[in-house]
């Protein structure tokens, strides 16, 4: 369980995280979405007690991180790719942390095996690929068998195998009753991994909804209708909250009514339909729309 209450972080005039209040519950994967620069990593560092909040609190499993006597058993984190010394072997990296946390040596071998790194455990990390480095980062996060797992952009640099591995792992950890807080700037990845979404833009909370709800909202209720008597049909559909657009001759884009309603009204008036389909706005588009004004970096829009 992660509880953020009014969490704020300012760097001079820049507000990286602005009054963020969110509860990340155990038992599910919570996706943490936002464009680059939205404040996701800063938030995660504050959860880990690495950065100090300007205001507000971040509690993990009921306490501030630094108040835990057994922090690695409470929270495991993959904060950034390559927080690894290139001159050290994968095994030594884990052994040092295991010793500090008083974890049994066997635990090191368990997480190496879990991450598929046993065969390269004695190799220096400097020679690792980005994906192997990420796997070692995940192994590090799981070392203390923690109740809460924080993963910052864990799929970055992973091949499709690795992505699938992370997804399965995250869901498995949640199914064991753990809190899994998983950040990404990839909406598509989040929609298949996370059950709940926390969306940030420019340091502020933009959405805190279930993934299903987010998808429903994203899909909207637009209906695409193609008919030779489109103009006539448009007249039948008018009503409060209904908008009808005709991007081309014979084609209508209707929002505010369901496809069933459109079909029934058309049938009632004897109007032939050549196409009738609910339109699924892509999740990426929905995400972009949601954070449109909140992206810190974006390309200049072309004047149309």
């Amino acid at each position: 369980m992660i509880e953020l209450r009014g969490l704020t972080k300012r760097y001079g005039a820049t507000t990286a995280v602005d009054d963020l209040t969110v509860t990340v519950r155990p038992g599910i994967v919570t996706g943490f979405l936002g464009p680059n620069g939205a404040g996701k990593s800063t938030t995660m560092r504050m959860v880990l007690g690495l950065d100090h909040p300007t205001a507000g609190t971040a509690l993990v499993n009921g306490k501030r991180y630094a108040e835990h006597r057994d922090p690695l058993r409470q929270v495991g984190a993959l904060l950034e790719a390559r927080a690894l010394h290139p001159g050290r072997t994968a095994r030594a990296h884990l052994q040092a942390l295991a010793a500090t946390a008083g974890l049994p040596r066997q635990r090191v071998e368990t997480v190496l095996d879990l991450a598929g790194l046993t065969s390269v455990a004695g190799k220096r990390v400097g020679g690792f690929s980005l994906g192997m480095g990420q796997r070692l980062g995940v192994a590090t996060a799981l070392l203390g068998d923690p109740a809460t797992v924080v993963l910052d952009e864990p799929v970055n640099g992973l091949d499709p195998d690795g992505v699938l591995w992370i997804r399965t792992l995250a869901r498995g950890l949640a199914a064991e009753g753990r809190t899994v807080f998983f950040s990404s700037h990839l909406m598509a990845e989040m929609s298949v991994t996370a059950e709940h979404l926390v969306v940030m833009g420019r340091g502020r909370l933009v959405a805190d909804v279930s993934t299903a709800e987010f998808i429903r909202r994203a899909g909207g209720d637009a209906v695409r209708v193609r008919s030779p008597r489109a103009g006539e049909l448009a007249g039948l559909l008018t009503g409060p909250d209904v908008t009808v657009e005709s991007p081309e001759r014979g084609l209508l884009l209707v929002t505010g009514v369901t496809a069933e309603t459109v079909g029934d009204r058309a049938a009632g008036a004897g109007i032939a339909l050549h196409e009738l389909a609910p339109v699924q706005a892509s999740l990426e588009e929905a995400f972009m729309a949601l954070t449109h004004d909140d992206r810190e970096y974006r390309t200049q829009e072309q004047p149309s």
Partner: protein
């Protein structure tokens, strides 16, 4: 993943943390697992012995080692001083080792997992200092005794270990090097940058004493004797010149620098974002 749920795990009542033993053990693993640690220690040891051999074996042929030249307070005609003079080079190598053990955590990013494992942070500062200090003390004791033995083998005038102050000088060389290495870790914590910390270390130990010689003779020595290398170096002198610290008082000044550096590191780390 393991089969135990977090709830079952809590019921196992494992010790909550590794405690002091775990912290020192973790720092030891980090220190020993880097090849550079052993390269620097071996390099410092070999350099001390070989330079001692060079200076003692050539002392007869004139020059500073042969006719009593050199800076005031340093008796370069003394075979003991000559045999241990390699410490000048070793201190730079060991000081840089101390810097690198800390700044390496920042440049690689491992400092985040280090502080995630020990959120109080100050134990890490002391743990690293203790582990490195112990390692450097052992290595430089070996180096100092080896350099002394080699010097004694090639020169007739070497005083015995039982002679007044000799054992203090040999052991003191190791203590001095240990203090400089630990000072390196403090500079690493304070500056977080390898280049910056090495520059400050080099300046304190090598450059400021040279510049200090350009100060007026009336008060310059009163200033330079407080420099860490000058003060701590008194422990390496058989006889101390007037106007300088006594051996142990001088070493205490050096230890003072180390303590201030470590305390400043702890204070700085407490409030700083990682």
């Amino acid at each position: 993943m393991t089969t135990s749920t977090p709830q079952e795990q809590a019921a196992e009542k494992q010790p909550p943390t590794g405690g002091t033993t775990g912290l020192l053990g973790g720092e030891w693993v980090k220190t020993r697992s880097l090849r550079s640690t052993w390269n620097v220690l071996l390099g410092a040891l070999v350099a001390m012995v070989l330079l001692g051999l060079l200076f003692t074996s050539t002392a007869e042929s004139g020059g500073p080692g042969g006719n009593g030249g050199g800076p005031p307070g340093a008796d370069f005609a003394q075979p003991l001083t000559l045999s241990l003079a390699g410490y000048n080079l070793a201190q730079l190598a060991l000081g840089v080792l101390g810097v690198l053990l800390v700044t390496g955590e920042y440049t690689s990013g491992t400092v985040r997992s280090t502080f995630a494992a020990t959120p109080k942070r100050w134990p890490v500062v002391l743990g690293k200092a203790a582990v490195l200090g112990a390692l450097v003390l052992v290595a430089s004791l070996v180096a100092a005794f080896a350099a002394y033995a080699v010097g004694a083998a090639v020169t007739d005038g070497m005083p015995g270990l039982g002679a007044d102050g000799v054992l203090r000088v040999v052991v003191g060389t190791a203590l001095y090097l240990t203090a400089i290495a630990v000072l390196g870790t403090a500079l690493g914590w304070l500056l977080r940058s390898t280049a910056g910390a090495v520059a400050v270390l080099f300046g304190l130990v090598f450059l400021l004493p040279v510049l200090g010689q350009l100060l007026p003779a009336s008060w310059g020595p009163d200033v330079t004797r407080w420099l860490p290398g000058q003060a701590g170096g008194q422990l390496l002198q058989l006889s101390t010149a007037p106007g300088t610290f006594s051996p142990w008082a001088g070493f205490a000044v050096l230890v003072g620098y180390v303590v201030v550096g470590l305390v400043a590191s702890v204070v700085r780390l407490r409030s700083r974002d990682v």
